[in-house]
């Protein structure tokens, strides 16, 4: 591409024609002050701070909105430019409170910094300053709108990046104010980025509010355990306490954003439910113990099972937020004891294709390629809530008109992009509609359709969508989301997607929660003869080692998980938190470190391995899980547990980590039989609210107050609700055959008819089976 040369402050700089001046100066280290400009947002040119002198221009021009032209001569620090910049600064300050010492932004405030460089030491403004009322916009973002300088970064972020126009600028002139419409809360799952974008103390972090000053904090590089991107985070600490989390820019992964899940989950680290000392249950009563005692107790319990010949009935379950090293040591320990039953796929229930499954749950395209696909097909994916930052990438491609996105989802999810095709397919119709699509693809490609697929395809004619996918070819992507992975017929979905992608030439991305890919890489899954999560929870296990998980909440079928735990003889839980329900069945609780307190490796969905270092030392007796597992191995007398440090484990793993292949194709193609629900009537749809799927998230206080953590209510389509004789807001009795629960119902047109949606991850819903026939009726039994 041709370049032009411009002259800035006497320096000749190369630039691309049409590029904005401020991009060129930024790249070359020439500082121009600014407030409204942000490289990821559209140009507003409203703050007027970046005015510079351009030769032959009659007045100073904003560097953020002035395209470069060959031979342009620019002065950024001439008298004219400085006079303009100082003028703007004076205007910004006349109505801005000058109380930096009590402002939470103080010390990291662009306005404060630039006032030092461009402001006056006195004020000529003798009039009364403006004050603006602030409204509560939710538990994450604190507002103090008197400090607002109307740069509209937050408004543009919502409108352009997040895809939700939540903040706006109603009012005119001096009465213009940044607020939500009708004082509604901000519900975006990436709202915390507005805090970073706000150049003043108008929008600040509510959980972090007044906790520390920025200059007191130590920055630590970390990896978010909660998404499959391996989002780079800056864990900021003060006196060995995590005070907040900020993004670290990584253009390949998270750009400059992080989801609220990554930003606010740290609150769990300092929560009052932390388990800080080992605990053992003796004669039905819990007591605190030393590590020595607790580990001896744990080892003895396991040895007893091994001595009884029940070694194969000891299972290991790991949460998806574990590190690669933790996954590795858990499977190593379980296998060293003589069992092959270990799994990290807590929410999967169909394991029939384990023998042919791809080695890693990954995406065949890199993260950055999510924004330049021609066609994307979402299969059972509420990507906005499951992987918020990937949804932003998809949205970006959709916005530029490059990407057409189709979805086959059980529920009409509220996505932050438009869909070219939206197919609502609850229950097994997800499989049959997908099969119909495969049939259409076969038609478009003039390829024979496997008879197994034809047999289950429903009558939908999807030629238009099939053409879209086939035309995109290698630029097409099929995304398997959580609803697809958790489906009772997940193996059919994967097989059809595999066939479809092969036929159309598409790529596949399986977006598993958190660090799942590392679980697969560490082989933290059953070998031949071993039992998977589903088999372990089906009963018959004698002992469990739980790594960071609370099965009754983390697993798909909480009821089944709980009974499996209760029926076993000996349960060891490695956990950061004390859980009442776990304490009812567990025998040993070993306090483990959270993501910020422990070093470890994370494998993201594009096969990139990233290492995170502990930002703080854990409280009390808490130890990193890898150390606990190592010592437990020693106590059990297992071989190969003599690691000196984490590097030893990394070295051991290095043959595997060297080249993790990001492919997602089945080893051999086969279609299992469709499992029919065995009942007619209401179908229960389930899903994990984004802040309930993991113990750390469940203990993050502010996240638990957001709209994404709704109180457990049964959501039903309005028509179905009235057929059942219920009204929105009423209490209803939900019966799954042997358990009943009393819960409120709410009408929701996004739920398909003849279905009810009850989220998992809550104590209230955990006690209900998921595959059973359910019935719903008014509380007093009256109809109508």
């Amino acid at each position: 591409m041709s370049t032009v040369t411009i002259n800035v402050d006497g320096r000749n700089l190369e630039a691309t024609p049409g590029e904005m001046l401020i991009c060129v100066t930024d790249r070359n280290g020439i500082y121009i002050p600014r407030f409204c400009y942000h490289e990821k947002l559209s140009v507003a040119a409203n703050c007027r701070m970046c005015l510079v002198e351009v030769e032959r221009a009659p007045k100073p021009l904003p560097a953020c909105a002035t395209p470069v032209m060959d031979g342009m001569k620019v002065q950024t620090r001439s008298i004219t430019a400085q006079e303009a910049q100082k003028g703007t600064m004076e205007f910004l300050l006349i109505n801005h409170p000058l109380d930096c010492p009590v402002c939470d932004q103080g010390g990291e405030c662009p306005l404060q910094d630039q006032a030092l460089g461009y402001g006056r030491s006195d004020s000529r403004f003798q009039e009364q300053k403006r004050s603006v009322a602030s409204h509560d916009i939710g538990p994450l973002v604190a507002t103090e709108m008197t400090r607002c300088i109307h740069c509209t970064r937050c408004v543009r972020f919502g409108e352009e990046v997040a895809g939700l126009l939540e903040m706006g600028a109603p009012g005119r002139g001096e009465h213009m104010k940044i607020s939500t419409f009708l004082n509604r809360p901000v519900n975006s799952e990436v709202s915390g980025n507005m805090i970073d974008l706000c150049p003043v103390g108008a929008l600040t972090s509510r959980p972090f509010r007044f906790a520390a000053r920025s200059w007191e904090l130590t920055s630590n590089f970390g990896i978010s355990p909660h998404d499959c991107l391996g989002t780079n985070i800056n864990i900021q600490t003060l006196r060995n306490c995590v005070e907040r989390v900020l993004p670290i820019e990584n253009a390949e992964i998270n750009e400059c954003w992080i989801a609220d899940r990554d930003r606010f989950s740290y609150e769990a680290i300092n929560c009052r439910h932390r388990l800080t000392v080992p605990m053992i249950k003796r004669a039905g009563a819990w007591e605190e113990a030393t590590w020595e005692t607790a580990l001896t107790h744990a080892a003895n319990g396991l040895k007893r099972l091994m001595d009884n010949g029940s070694a194969a009935e000891i299972g290991g379950l790991a949460t998806w937020s574990s590190t690669l090293e933790e996954f590795h040591l858990l499977q190593k320990l379980v296998r060293a004891m003589g069992s092959d039953s270990v799994d990290y796929r807590l929410r999967q229930c169909d394991f029939r294709d384990d023998d042919i499954a791809p080695p890693l749950p990954v995406s065949e395209v890199p993260i950055r390629a999510f924004s330049d696909r021609e066609s994307v097909l979402l299969v059972g994916s509420n990507i906005r809530k499951e992987q918020p930052l990937l949804a932003l990438r998809l949205r970006n491609g959709w916005q530029t008109g490059k990407t057409r996105i189709a979805a086959i989802n059980p529920i009409d999810h509220d996505l932050n992009f438009g869909t070219s095709h939206l197919l609502i397919a609850p229950g097994n119709s997800l499989v049959s509609q997908l099969a119909a699509l495969a049939s259409a693809v076969a038609g478009a490609r003039s390829m024979p359709l496997p008879p197994e697929i034809r047999r289950i395809a429903d009558k939908h004619r999807l030629t238009d969508l099939a053409d879209q996918i086939c035309q995109a070819g290698g630029n097409g992507l099929v995304v398997l989301g959580e609803a697809a992975q958790q489906h009772p017929n997940a193996s059919l979905i994967k097989a059809i997607v595999h066939w479809l992608a092969e036929a159309a030439g598409s790529r596949i991305a399986l977006l598993a929660p958190g660090n799942s890919a590392a679980g697969a890489l560490a082989n933290c899954q059953p070998g031949e003869g071993g039992r998977n999560t589903g088999q372990m929870l089906a009963g018959g296990m004698r002992g469990f080692i739980l790594l960071g998980c609370e099965p009754e909440l983390d697993c798909m079928d909480g009821k089944q998980a709980l009974s499996a735990m209760q029926d076993s003889d000996f349960v060891i839980q490695l956990s950061a938190f004390r859980s009442e329900s776990v304490m009812q069945y567990a025998d040993v609780l070993l306090p483990m470190a959270t993501f910020a307190e422990s070093s470890g490796s994370y494998l993201n969905c594009e096969g990139r391995l990233q290492r995170s270092r502990a930002a703080v030392t854990p409280p009390g007796e808490v130890k990193p899980a890898w150390k606990i597992l190592r010592v437990l191995g020693n106590f059990l007398g297992c071989r190969g547990f003599d690691y000196m440090d984490l590097e030893d484990i990394e070295t051991e793993l290095s043959p595997r980590t060297e080249n993790p292949a990001p492919t997602f194709r089945l080893g051999k193609w086969r279609l299992e039989d469709m499992i029919e629900p065995g009942h007619t009537g209401l179908t229960r749809l389930s899903g994990m609210p984004m802040y309930r799927g993991e113990a750390t998230l469940r203990h993050a206080r502010a996240l638990q107050s957001t709209a994404d953590t709704p109180a457990p209510v049964i959501r039903v389509h309005p028509d179905t609700l009235s057929e059942l004789g219920l009204k929105s807001g009423e209490q209803a009795l939900l019966d799954d055959g042997d358990t009943t629960a009393q819960l409120p119902v709410k009408e929701d047109p996004r739920i398909p008819e003849k279905c009810i949606y009850l989220p998992s991850g809550f104590a209230e819903s955990a006690m209900l089976g998921i595959h059973n026939r359910v019935s719903l009726e008014p509380l007093d039994g009256r109809q109508g």
């Binding site: 140009v43 507003a44 040119a45 409203n46 703050c47 007027r48 701070m49 005015l51 009659p58 007045k59 100073p60 904003p62 909105a65 395209p67 303009a84 003028g87 703007t88 004076e90 205007f91 910004l92 006349i94 109505n95 000529r124 403004f125 003798q126 009039e127 403006r130 300088i149 109307h150 600028a169 109603p170 009012g171 005119r172 002139g173 001096e174 009465h175 213009m176």
Partner: protein
């Protein structure tokens, strides 16, 4: 009926005087000039018919407009023919013509009377514009307070559509053009062309940063030309050229060098006969003042704002030497603007006038750019303080400095419009401000 009578009465009483030729304002002797039949009887829509007959190349129409020296009547004075030539002729995308009838400039009331009395001239002008520029849809954005002109326009559009001058296949030429009237919601800033586009799109009326200009990225991102009501309404008469079809010289000759034709000046303030005066460009101000019956109550002239509150004020000795055209007013330190001549007699309190003007811009700033959002309020508050007897001499320097720091630093010209009155009032009448401050100080002591 009563409304029609009122309108005629106003046309007579409100000094709607034509000096040279009937271009935008109808002859006051004509009854019901807003009716289609009346308009047609006077040669209306012949220009559109002729243009649509296909005999005339588009370029000739633009050349005629260029030659006629018709300059944009909204305030900036950009040549209309040149503006029309900016529209990409060849491209297949949807294009729009938009009429700016958001007449909000204090002192201006010409577009209101064009719409009330001569709506078909506007419709014909826009249809011709649509044809020349390849736009099939026109929007007429009418100031929110103009309910009555809006109703007249709606009726006229209905008549024109029924008669085949709007809609599909206009005049059976195969050309489609439809026109929609939109009523604003009372924001002065929506008279700024890009804010107007935002408002039309249903967004907040905030000016857009230019470039891109509307001819490249306008309404809904499509090529768009925006002209003032008077500019469009002048087009049919210019093309008819009083019988000398397409003779741009006719209109040009009505005016002077660089300022073609006739233009409406809305004379308000301390005159005996305020009203709209459609006069030759280059007419001496003295003559216009005479037409308006001279300064009222036999008083002497103190100052005139010749183009609406946004242009600099001129003291009597300066305006009395000036002619009403672009060059002459500029030479004397002001501008034609929207042609709203605000006349002030010798008793006028200049501090009070500036306070009122400053209040206007403070209220009407959209709030987007820092200097205007913060500065207009600051200007107003200082002037209010001075006017209420709590000013100091330093305030005058601050006032000027604040105005200088707003001027030229904002996205649109509202910042300039807020600064210029302050600068010009202090340039010409600083002594009145100083006297007021000194007197208040003395009284306080």
């Amino acid at each position: 009926m009563s409304r029609q009578r009122d309108r005629s009465l106003i046309a007579e009483r409100f000094g709607t005087v034509r000096q040279a030729a009937s271009v935008c304002l109808p002859d006051p002797s004509v009854k019901t000039p807003w009716k289609l039949e009346t308009y047609r009887a006077g040669g209306g829509y012949t220009a559109l018919e002729k243009v649509l007959s296909g005999q005339i190349p588009h370029a000739d129409i633009i050349e005629t407009l260029k030659l006629s020296n018709l300059r944009g009547r909204g305030g900036a004075g950009f040549p209309v023919g040149v503006k029309w030539s900016f529209m990409p002729r060849s491209s297949d995308v949807q294009k729009y013509v938009v009429c700016n009838s958001d007449e909000g400039e204090p002192g201006t009331c010409k577009d209101r009377d064009i719409m009330r009395l001569n709506p078909h001239a506007l419709i014909e002008g826009m249809a011709i514009g649509g044809y020349v520029m390849g736009a099939t849809i026109g929007y007429n954005y009418i100031r929110g307070e103009f309910r009555e002109p809006y109703d007249v326009m709606e009726e006229a559009v209905r008549e024109a559509r029924e008669a085949g001058f709007l809609g599909k296949n206009v005049c059976r030429s195969g050309f489609d053009f439809d026109l929609h009237n939109c009523l604003g919601a009372g924001a002065y800033i929506c008279g700024e062309e890009t804010a107007l586009l935002n408002s039309l799109e249903g967004k907040k009326g905030e000016p857009r940063f230019k470039p891109p200009f509307p001819a490249a990225y306008g309404l809904y991102g499509k090529p768009t030309t925006i002209n003032n009501t008077e500019s469009y309404a002048s087009v049919p008469a210019i093309l008819r050229a009083d019988g000398n079809w397409l003779d741009g010289q006719w209109f040009r000759g009505l005016g002077v060098e660089n300022s073609g034709g006739v233009k409406i000046f809305s004379v308000t303030g301390h005159v005996n006969r305020p009203g709209n005066y459609e006069i030759r460009m280059g007419t001496p101000f003295r003559d216009l003042l005479d037409m308006a019956g001279g300064v009222w109550k036999g008083r002497r002239l103190k100052a005139v704002i010749p183009g609406g509150s946004s242009v600099p004020v001129m003291p009597a000795e300066s305006i009395l030497k000036a002619n009403m055209d672009y060059d002459s007013l500029q030479q004397h330190g002001s501008a034609v603007g929207a042609g709203s001549v605000i006349v002030m007699d010798e008793t006028t309190d200049m501090v009070g006038i500036l306070e009122r003007i400053a209040l206007f811009y403070y209220e009407e700033s959209c709030g987007q750019c820092t200097p205007c959002r913060e500065g207009t309020g600051w200007l107003y508050r200082i002037i209010r303080r001075i006017n209420s007897g709590r000013g100091s001499m330093e305030d005058l320097d601050t006032l000027l400095d604040v105005a200088n720091r707003i001027e030229g630093r904002t996205i649109c010209a509202l910042g300039d419009a807020a600064a210029w009155p302050v600068q010009s009032f202090l340039r010409h009448f600083r002594h009145e401000f100083e006297d007021k401050i000194a007197m208040d100080r003395a009284n306080a002591a």
